[in-house]
Every structure is written in structure tokens, then in C-alpha cells.
Symmetry: C2
Subunit: 416 residues, 2 copies
């Protein structure tokens, strides 16, 4: 398992991992009011049409369109007002020819009516009568039954993240509970002889465990449940036991390696021993994050192929790489039907950024300005300093086929 024999481009590395991962999302019933951010596991079908009665879209007079034929300001149509449509109830009356009823936005069309004349196009001449000064067509100013959805329509496909709008749509249909994908548990193992818990007293030579917590936060954002297995020393047997146990308990496992080359090799060997197929990718042509390990392991209780991702130990690389590889794995486990569309901020790069052709670079930048276009200024600092990322507003990508970006270029900044 020596690393870097072949450095794959990130997209190809990810594809190699995902193609070997089966996905069988498991259902869980939740209340719709608590379903924000959850993912549908089955398509949602409309149990009834929406709206389920014809509604007025304006304040005005419900009537028969044919009665207004040819009406104009100089030659209005006259109509008798037989009543008012009260909100939230069905009217008891039925309209005949040349009759109308006062109606409010959202009111239910009374029997006999097929259109609504806006109040602005009418005039009250004497008690109980209005002049309609503009002809209306059948269905004008009316939401017809089923105009939004019809019975049986697939209103939300499977594999969709529920946003406020979907929550509203479900409620409009009276769907107050629904099955969603159970959140996948993602195991996190921090390895490294120098790593101690964040709450521990730190002796010279030791560093606090940062990765368990940055990765937990990222997993939570992506819709998974982080399961922290703690800190494991750089010893094959201990690491093997920890990964094996995490594989039993979780749907995917992420291991941050100790920072030396030998610790990384150890991590790769341990992960590979939990195959087949084991390590698929060892080394990705990306900076930071070259020593990334992507694997699929079946060495667990139920022999389901599960993703195991070995991340570089340094916190910045670990976080950048987890965003590139772990988040898509979580989306796969959630059964997301459509690859993530990553929104960005557009900003003008302040300085030249050279890079090595063939390698994809992710550079933390700070955004300044705001009126007009933003300016992106790279945050300097060695790549293994966690506050380099904390000081940045986002990352820009220098693609593999470029030898850098030029000052003044407009770049996409991805918030992190």
C-alpha cells in the first residue's frame, strides 16, 4: 500500500469510490414539522387536489363570465348582489344569470359562478347592484381545483432534501408525518500518538484533537450523525480494532491519520486489511490533501460494503478533503437523487495565484468590499494551521488544467 504510486484527479477518485458503494437508505417516520433538511425516501403523492375548491384570487364579485360579455366603462354590465361569500365556508346560495356575490381573495366560488370581476373594475351604483366595467373570461381571477396539484401527482420525488417550501406543500396536503431517510451514522477515528483530547492537559509535543470535531460538524451539516470513536495510537492492532468496530456500528468511517508518512502508511494498511476490495485510491492530485485514502470495506459484521476514508492528519487538509469526498458519500447514503449544486460568491481575485498544472488546488480566501463586486484575498499561512481556515470566508478552486489564477480574475468562492 505505498502511497502516491498514481495520483488520481479528485473527480475520478470520487467516482471510483462511489461506483462501489451500494445505497439502501433506511426509512424513519418523522413529523413534517420537524422534517426540515431531511430527505424523502419515497415519492410523495398528492392524496387530493390543491386547491380542492375553486377560489378567488382577488377581492371582487363572483359571477357568470357570460353576463359580462362586451362590458366596458361606457357600456357596463349590471349585476344584482345576492350575498357575500364568507371566508372559510361554502356559500348557501347559487348564482343565476346577472347575479353576483361579493367575494374576498381566497373565498370559495359560490355555485353558479365561473369567474370573478376585480373590485377595481366594478362600481356600486345603488344598494344591491354593481356595474361591471370590463368583461371577464371564464375562470378569470379563479384558482381552479387541482391547479397546483392533482390527486395522485408526484409532488415530491424520492431523494429530495426538504426545504421550507416542501414542508409547506406537505402541510397543505395534510401530510403531517412522513417517512424520510434515517440519518446515516458516520464513524470518526482520530489517530496519532501526539493527539490528546481537547479537554486534556497538553504536554509539550502533544496537540489537541481538532479533527474529531471539525468532521463532526461537517457530518452534521451534511445530514449524517457523527459517532466519535476517540483517539487511537499509531498501532496497527489498536487501529484495526477501532476501524472494525466503527464499521460494525456505522454506515461509513473516516479515519484521520497520524501526520507522518509512516503513520499514513499504517492507516492505509489497516484499512486495506478490512477489505475486500479495500483501498481503491491512495493519493489524490489535490492540494491540500494529497495523501487521501479512499476505500470500500466489507470486513464488518454484516459484510455490507462501506466507505472508509483516510484523511490527512492536519486539520485544514482533513476538512477540505472531507468536503470533497465525505460529503458526497453521505449524500449517497442519504439517497440524494441529484448531485449537490454548490452555490458560490463571485469575487475578484486580488493577487496572482500560481499553481502546478495537473493538480487541483483549494485556496482559502477572505472576502472584502461588498458594494459592487467582492474582492478575494488569499489567507496566507501554512496549510496545516486551523485558523487559516477560520479566518477565511471560503475556498477557491484552481482547476487541474490551469497553471494558476491571475489578479483581477473573477472567481467562485465556495463558503465553508
Amino acid at each position: 500500500m505505498p502511497e502516491f504510486l498514481q495520483l488520481l484527479p479528485p473527480a475520478e477518485a470520487l467516482a471510483r469510490l462511489l461506483e462501489q458503494l451500494p445505497t439502501q437508505p433506511r426509512p424513519e417516520e418523522v413529523e413534517t414539522s420537524a422534517a426540515l433538511g431531511r430527505v424523502t425516501i419515497f415519492p410523495v403523492l398528492a392524496p387530493h387536489p390543491l386547491p380542492d375548491f375553486a377560489r378567488s384570487t382577488v377581492d371582487g364579485y363572483a359571477l357568470r363570465a357570460t353576463d359580462t360579455h362586451g362590458a366596458s366603462e361606457s357600456l357596463p354590465a349590471y349585476s344584482s348582489v345576492v350575498g357575500e361569500v364568507m371566508m372559510g365556508v361554502e356559500s348557501a346560495f347559487t348564482l343565476d344569470a346577472n347575479q353576483c356575490a361579493l367575494i374576498h381573495t381566497g373565498g370559495m366560488l359560490p355555485n353558479g359562478a365561473d369567474a370573478v370581476a376585480m373590485v377595481e373594475t366594478t362600481q356600486s351604483v345603488r344598494a344591491g347592484e354593481v356595474e361591471v366595467m370590463r368583461a371577464v373570461a371564464v375562470g378569470e381571477n379563479v384558482l381552479r381545483v387541482g391547479e397546483d396539484v392533482n390527486t395522485g401527482d408526484e409532488v415530491i420525488p424520492a431523494g429530495v432534501h426538504l426545504r421550507p417550501a416542501e414542508i409547506g406543500g406537505l402541510m397543505a396536503l395534510g401530510i403531517t408525518h412522513l417517512p424520510v431517510v434515517r440519518k446515516p451514522q458516520i464513524g470518526i477515528i482520530s489517530s496519532g500518538d501526539e493527539v490528546v483530547p481537547a479537554s486534556a492537559e497538553v504536554h509539550p509535543g502533544q496537540v489537541r484533537d481538532v479533527n474529531s470535531f471539525t468532521l463532526s460538524a461537517l457530518i452534521e451539516q451534511a445530514g449524517g450523525i457523527p459517532v466519535r470513536s476517540g483517539i487511537i495510537p499509531d498501532q496497527a492492532q489498536l487501529l484495526h480494532g477501532a476501524v472494525r468496530q466503527a464499521l460494525d456500528e456505522c454506515e461509513a468511517v473516516v479515519v484521520t491519520a497520524g501526520s507522518s508518512a509512516s503513520a499514513r502508511d499504517l492507516t492505509a494498511e489497516v484499512i486495506d486489511s478490512l477489505g475486500p476490495p479495500g483501498v481503491l485510491v491512495h493519493g489524490v492530485n489535490v492540494r491540500p490533501g494529497k495523501p487521501t485514502i479512499l476505500a470500500v470495506c466489507t470486513g464488518n459484521g454484516d459484510q455490507t460494503p462501506k466507505a472508509v476514508i483516510g484523511l490527512p492528519g492536519n486539520p485544514v487538509s482533513a476538512l477540505v478533503i472531507a468536503d470533497l469526498f465525505l460529503v458526497p458519500v453521505i449524500e449517497r447514503l442519504l439517497g440524494i437523487s441529484r448531485p449537490r449544486l454548490r452555490a458560490s460568491l463571485r469575487a475578484r481575485l486580488k493577487i496572482n495565484l500560481p499553481s502546478q498544472a495537473g493538480r487541483e488546488d483549494w485556496v482559502p480566501v477572505r472576502l472584502t468590499g461588498g458594494d459592487g463586486i467582492l474582492e478575494a484575498e488569499p489567507v496566507f499561512g501554512k496549510s496545516n494551521l486551523i485558523f487559516t481556515l477560520a479566518r477565511a470566508d471560503g475556498l477557491i478552486c484552481i482547476p487541474a488544467n490551469a497553471t494558476g489564477l491571475s489578479a483581477g480574475e473573477v472567481v467562485d468562492v465556495f463558503q465553508n
Copy 2:
């Protein structure tokens, strides 16, 4: 309080609301591991430097830079290997001139060393001795003490949303608890005689309460706590009582009005009666959402000025307008130091979209394609159909100073 006497542009309407809102975020102590998305209430200062010992950034040999002066492949410097730096501990030995120690990435520099020669630039010639084939400078391949942060540095300002990177930075400094802004409670009142609970049996003429739940979801996303007061009929006294109670219990209140003009006027009157100053804006030059009401009310137990937002009753308008006005209010209550930078997706508009000059339009679009640039196709449907929004991937804005957008134009799509 008649509406629409003067239609303000949305940005001006928002400014008028925010300038009258004091903000006194209240603190709450949380565990750092559970602080994702929370907002700092005080600046965070570094209790010690990071790193707090000099660390190697490579695998190689720790040594004195001066010993390698002039070293080259043809004339290497010879150095005796006196030991190996173990990970996580301080070395017991001290290096003298022409001595070195094997060191791994992240290892602590031993006493006497001031640089590290990368293993790739060295050669082991005989046991206990290496040739260094390239000169190194003092500090080369070393993270020096305080290179990331120094004691007392403001590492995270007040009013900052905590992302995974900040969580990591806090953990690196051993800050396992911190004070954050307590989440503001936002009251939600759905008014309308036609509105019934989503779980109720629906009779002809009635519609289910959608807004309470779309707004709850949006408030949750923005970092607030939704407090649903239920559905209030269109009666001044009942509505007054409900808004007054919500004002007592919450830091801001949002009321969705009944859908008729008279119900909207009723809402405006009730809100205004809970001033001073009461209604500041009634009518905004935006579509959807023209009948928006923005108010500041002091008619509550502690007389604190609190924002009250009256939203149109139709679910699409309510959600679009809440995003424009309620989210900034929540950010103000959270003490966010910097206005939200809204990331977008860039897409090519598929058709012409006319609009009225002077009015800002928000149009739901569906995105297709994906290789190369996305295409944005407006989702047709009357604006009050909730699934119009659920079918959309985001919204595009037609600015007030435009008379529309043209097919083929590249537009910013804001995900909703």
C-alpha cells in the same frame, strides 16, 4: 393605515425597520462540540499560542541550519543521528553541532535544532550518519511557536457564525465551552377565518395552515426558535390579544394576514395599535409581497422595541418576503456583525422575463443541465401555489431598475 400609499423599495423598507431595532443579544453557555451554527457573543481570545511548541512540517532530520551551510549533492554535509523524535513527547536529548535526529511530521523540535532537512534531500550512508544534500535555512520546515495565533490574539470576533473551522480552532485552543448568543424566539401567528390546522379535517372553503410551518422552518434555518401561536380568526380583539402575547414572549413576531384586503387592513391596524412607533412600512415595491407590513412595537410587558412583520397570507409571498425581511431581523437579533453574503448558482435564463420597471421581482426557477452552465427555467403557476416554490430550485431577482431579463442572460439563482 390604508396600504400602498407609498410603495418603498425593499432595501429602503428593510433599512427603515432595522434602524429602529435595538439589539442586545443575550449570552448562553454551550459546549463547543454543539456550537455549530451558533453566533459568538464576545470576541474569543487565544489563551496560549498555537502551535505552542516548534513542530516539524515534514518527515526528515532535525538539525542546526548552520551545519548545512553550502551543502549540495556533490558536497553534502555529514551529520550524526543521535536519536529519533517520538511523536507526542519532548525529546530528552539536545543536539550539538553536526548532530541530527530523525523527526516525523508534527514532531516537536529537539533542543538545539532550528530547522529540519526533508528526508528526500538526505541520504543514509552508514549506520548513525546521514548526508544532507541541500542547505536549509533557520526555521525551514518548521512551524514556529505562535505561527498560527499568539496569546491574546482575537481569534474569532463577536457576532460570527461558528462553522466547522471555528469549532476546530476553539478545540485546538482547549476551549471546550463558550458563551454564544441565545437563540431569539420568533412568534408566528397565522390569521384568517379560512385557515384550519394542518391536522384538522378540511371542509369546503377552508385551507390548511401552511405559513406557520414554512416560517418555522425558515426561522430555524436562520438561527431562531419558532414559537407558533396557532391560528387566529380575523377579529381585531382576538388578533390584538395574540400579537400582544407573542410580543411579551418573543423577540420578534411575524403575522400572516388573511388574504383579503380587509383582513390585511385589520392586521395593519392591530399591529399599529401596539406601537409606538407602530407600522413603519405598509406596502413594498416587490412581487410577490406588495402588501408587506413592517413595524416596531413597544406595546409589550418590558416596552422593548420589537419587530413585527405582517406578511401576505399566500404561502409563496409569505416565504419570499420572510426571507427578505424576517431573516435580516433574526440576524440583527443574533448580533451578526456582517450582513449575509448570499451565495448563488449561475445559470442561463431560458426565456424572456418581462417585469415592471420600479418593482423588484422574485421569480422561482428550476435548474436543468449541469455539464457546463446550468439553465434556469421559470416555474409557471400562479404565485400563491405552494408547489410552485417546491418545484423550484431557487429564485432569481429582477431588479427594480430593469424592465425584465432576456433569454440567454446569465442570472444568479438563490437557493431557497
